[in-house]
Every structure is written in C-alpha cells, then in structure tokens.
Amino acid sequence: MNQFQYSRVTHSNAAVSAVSKEKAAMFIAGGTNLIDLMKRGIVNPTRLVDINRVPLNEIKTEGNSLIIGALALNGPVAESKLVTEKFPLLAQALNAGASAQIRNMATIGGNMLQRTRCPYFYDTTMPCNKREPGTGCGALEGFNRMHAIFGFSDQCIAVHPSDMSVALAALDASVLVIGPKGERRIPFTDFHRLPGDKPQIDTNLQAGELITSVTIPDNGFNKNVHYLKVRDRTSYAFALVSVAAALQIEKNTIRDARLAMGGVAHKPWRLTEAEKFLIGKPVSEASFSEAAKIAMQGAKAFKYNTYKLTLAPNSIVQALKVAAKLV
C-alpha cells in the first residue's frame, strides 16, 4: 500500500473541506472496499479523511419516510426494527451482501460507492478503461461471465456489485449529499451512471461531495416483497443476477409494483416498463412471465454470459412469485 496522510474529522463540513483541499484525497468509512483497492494499488489516495467520527449513523423516521445516516452500518441497519418492519426488502438485500463481519464494518454510504468486481478492473496487469482510461476493456472479448447485459458501452461492460443499491433503486430512495457548493438531493436511480465513454466514473457525485443520508419514502411496500440473489455459492458471494421485487396486492390484483435487477448493468437496473405492465394485472405466474419478457427487451449478452438471458427473466418471475406468496 502506498503511503498517505491521515486526518480524522468530526463534522461534515470539515470532512468536505479536508477532502477538497487535495486532489487525490478520499473519505474512508468502513474501509472494506477502499483498503482492499489500496492494497492492490488500484486506488492510490495521498490523504485519507476518516469520517467515522462524524455523527451520521442515525436511523430514524420523519413523517412516514425512513432516513438512514450515511455512516450507519449495514448489519445494524438490516436488524433495525424500523427497517425490518416497514422496509423488509432493504433488510433482505443488506443481509444478502458479504458476511456478518463485513456488514458490521460496511457503511450505507460506502456500500453504494463500492467499485465493480470485474476481474479486469482488479488485475493491474490487464487493460481496463475503468481503472486506467484509454487502455481498453479486457472483458469485452475476454472472460465476461459476470458482466452486463444492459446499458453497457464499447468502453466498459462491468456491473455494479451492491445488493443494497438494488433495493434502494426499487424503493424510490434518494441520497442527500453535502459538498463545497452546499447540500443537494439525488434520486437514487440517478445516483449511479452508465459507463458511456467515461467508465472511470461510477456515479454523479461531484468532487468533494459527502453522502450524509439516504431517504426512503413510505410507499407501502412492506408486505409483498422479496430480494432474490443468485450466486455461485449459497452465501458470501457476489450476485450473478439479483432481483428486488415489491408488490401491493388487493384482492388478487396488483395495485402497484417496484422491480429492479442487480448484476446486469453498470448501475442498479430499474424495470419501470415491467412495473407499469403489472399494475391492474391478476396475481399469477402468467402476469409475472409477461412482465419478465418486457423487462428483458433490449438485453444483449457476450460470449460467456448468455446464461443471464435465461437466468434474469427466470429470477424476475421467481422473485415476484415469492413476493406474492405464490410459492
């Protein structure tokens, strides 16, 4: 690991100004992604600004919305009563991620900013436009089993690895940030970006901006929800495909729906067309299969991930069936 300077701050404003002063300064929260990347020489900050003592770890409700501080830890958030009772989809997605130890360290803010797990990004001897712009994309013609089927570009076909973010995208969350120019709120579905010709940039966060909290409106998706994660082993593995499904059901008819997929794109992939289709339809496998078909429009696979073209729609149907308690 390269050497760096270390500062510890206790206020959001101090954090922002400390990180803004130096071009290659970075915040460190749980460190579970950043330290990994620093050990491998993939990210080389000259200064780490430790934000762990900034009081941003509260979980609270305001009106009917849930507000989670950026430094709240993944494990405790998943176990908090406020979350398990009113937003069980988020609890399920958090618990599907990493391991108990990592969830005790990982923060909500850090989780959404974790970098891709593309093996070409991780291997510093390989080309990767995300790690080193202009070197090419090794995965495009390479071992692309884990890679995107939606929203990719000829510069990058990596996927975003966060489970939590898939649930937050489905639940209409928004992110509150504070930066050198003040505070602003970003809808979660606009937080991450597609690779285009700048795959080195994962999100729309600006230089020096600190995430302070996430808000989820109370949209009544607390009964019929399911987070389905398909992976190479039962636990402690990243998703090949995941689905966050939430339904509101009245007398066997779907009143409202939220759907998002993970492991298929450079950002959590919200399935708005499929959601629209589901409204007013009867709760049945036929409705769910039709929604999955709509969701898969425009999907395109590479040499080693064609299985995702089958796995993804099947996962959508299965997640919806479990959410609707058909299985």
């Binding site: 690991m1 390269n2 050497q3 760096f4 300077q5 270390y6 510890r8 460190i28 749980g30 460190g31 579970t32 330290i35 990994d36 620093m38 050990k39 780490l48 430790d50 762990n52 494990g75 990493a98 391991s99 108990a100 130890q101 990592i102 005790n104 360290m105 039962t234 636990s235 402690y236």
Partner: protein, 211 residues
C-alpha cells in the same frame, strides 16, 4: 538458549524459535527481493526523508484488557499491528483481502475483519483477539467445544472461526444449522471442518451460558 524441561514452556520455546526463524528468513527474502531503486534510496537516505514526511500517528487501544499507547503509520492495518508489532499472532492472515475471515477479531464487542481496517481508525477502542478469550488457564466454552467436536484439522482458520462463533451466539444468530451456516459464512475452512464447527456452536448455544 536452554530452558527447564517443562512441558508447557517447551512448546513455547519451540514456537519461539520457529517464529524467529520465519521472521529472519522473511527478512532475508525481503532484502533479496528489494529492487535496485529502493537500495539506492536507502544508501542516499531518501527513504528517511520520506518517512519523516509521513507522520506516525499516536494511538491508544485497549487490547485484551490491556491499555496500549502506540505510534504507528496510518497504512498499518489492525491485523498487521496485532501480528507484526504486538506479536499477537493468534489472529491469522489468510487472504488479507476480506475473503476468508481468518483475521476476525472483536472491536468494541462486535466481530470485524482486522485485515480490512486501519489501526488508526480505532483510537480509544477495545480490541479482543483469540488470546483474550480464555479466562486465565480456563478455556472459553467455545474453545473447549471446538476441541471436543474436532472443529478443525490444520487449525489455521480456527482463531477466526472461534471469534466469529462467539459473536454469532451473542448476536442471536445460532438458532438452527441453517442460521449458523449463513451467519458463519464469512469464515472459510479449507479443511472443511464445517459440520464439526456447526456442532460446536450448537452445543455452546444450547448450553445457554452467558458467553
């Protein structure tokens, strides 16, 4: 160095000399592998200037009940501090990237991976390692259960498994085999001692003792 032929110290002496040998040999490979530029930097004392520029940070930690006042470089992980500087080598380095759980310790009572956190981030906090689990000569119930159930073969993952297992019960996540397997999934055992590990945890959990 000669020591009295006492069974316990014999083991320690043996460990000590083996460890010293390992340390010396890694030092030698270290020198053998040092690239020319680094040797040159050392000759010209450039690295000392560099070292001055990177300040050491004062750090207070309570490790296994003992207060420590330290001064360390910010890039030292909690794992490296424990093993390399404090010689608490019970905590193991398996992967160093958060993928195996061998380095699991408790920080303020919760289980974390010491390889993915910097020591400086824990100023004023309480660290418990496998060395701090037993009560004097009396094994912790989880240590005793691992021995009774053969919860290991080579033993490399065991300190991490035990630290994680204790936390798993304290968190209330040891109520069925499925739950134990899920909440222990962050601890990999290459020897595949999983069934025996699950048995050990189940027994301690059913014992109902406050661990």
């Amino acid at each position: 160095m000669k020591k009295k032929p006492n069974k316990n110290t014999d083991i320690i002496v043996h460990n000590d000399s083996r460890r010293d040998f390992l340390k010396q040999s890694t030092l030698l490979t270290g020198i053998a592998l040092t690239p020319e530029i680094a040797v040159k930097a050392a000759e010209n004392q450039w690295d000392e200037k560099l070292a001055e520029a990177i300040e050491k940070i004062p750090l207070k930690l309570e490790i296994n009940g003992i207060q420590k006042t330290l001064s360390i470089e910010p890039r030292v992980t909690l794992l490296d501090l424990l093993r390399e500087q404090l010689h608490l080598t019970g905590t193991k380095k398996g992967c160093d990237y958060g993928q195996c759980g061998a380095c699991t310790v408790h920080v303020n009572g919760t289980r974390v991976l010491s390889c993915l956190t910097l020591a400086v981030m824990h100023d004023g906090e309480k660290i418990t390692t496998i060395e701090g689990l037993a009560n004097g000569d009396e094994l912790h119930p989880m240590q005793a259960a691992f021995m009774k159930h053969d919860g290991f073969q080579c033993g490399y993952c065991t300190p991490g498994q035990i630290m994680s297992a204790v936390a798993c019960i304290r968190e209330g996540h040891a109520n069925s085999e499925t739950e134990i397997r899920e909440y222990m999934s962050g601890n990999i055992c290459r020897c595949g001692a999983y069934p025996n590990i699950v048995n050990a945890i189940t027994e301690v959990n059913k014992g109902g003792k406050n661990i």
